[in-house]
Amino acid sequence: MMKSILTFILLLALPVIPAALNAWLNPNVPPWNPMQLAGGEVALADLLEWADDYILIDARSPESYQVEHMPDAINLYAGEFNTQIMNLLDVWSPERSIVIYCDSRQCGASEELAQRLRQDFQMENVFVLKGGWESYRTSNIVPSETTRPGAQRTGSLPTLNIE
């Protein structure tokens, strides 16, 4: 019995060593501070200053997209990927950056979509909007009606009361 308990504790304690090594050596270590930008992330405030042309992608469900979305964003939901990817490919060109957002910091869908676009479509300059839709909704930026999804834009989201 005692031996079983010791084995149990040993197995629970042993992973601490490779976990520490991984946190030290892995190049994909996420930041300890949730507000700090990780590689491939962009903050909304920085996005507004961008001089480069970019395409906004909404990785939320089509239902959420229909209700409200960021200006000129293209909907590209994981569950509808095969049908909606054409909307992106129609407007994408190698010199254009891509910025993806989902619900919030915790959603994960934008990060996974970014990874898929980088790996499967060899797209470079794919970024994730830190904080996602929540960061946009809670900012002073007023959502506007989308008329031309994927339209050319250079950091000029319709804004109001930006300090």
Binding site: L10, L11, N22, N28, Q106
Partner: protein, 183 residues
Amino acid sequence: MSGMINSKTKQPGWIMRGALQAKTLLVVILAGLFVYAGIIKLIQPDTFLSDIESYRMMPYSLAWLVAFYLPPLEIICGLGLLLPQLRKASACILLLLMIAFIIAIAVAWGRGLNIACGCFGSSTEATNYPWLIVRDLLMAGGLAFVLHATLTRGVRQAPKGHKRTRHGDGGIRSKTTAGVIPR
């Protein structure tokens, strides 16, 4: 019953051999699954962290620690399943993990969250909750079977004249003057 133990040779019968082979195969499959799942998550802790965060069950700092601790735990316990000395504890830990995963997925489903399971690395597919739960239940069932088989190993009626002895790996084996009956 000749299927269980051959009365002439005292060797395990075909039923016993079949059960042993099935158990061995199950252990190898489960070990492979956990090692594979662990390695994928170990390589990409940032993606795994965002998967954990999508469940919205813990603060960021705790999710960060879990993102680094869980993958090596899965790998070590997966490998532990292959070693008779560590099988019981490994199966116990992994079974508890699977129960926690099932609860987490069920809660996320109930809260209407769109989670990335994170079980086997990143997935861009829409969340299929019933499939996730069924898959985890199958794995939990397999682990429960392995754990039960490990705990009850050798605790069967020894043939007359045989002495049951406890071994270092926790198993109890029937022993004669000719040696240990292989299991």
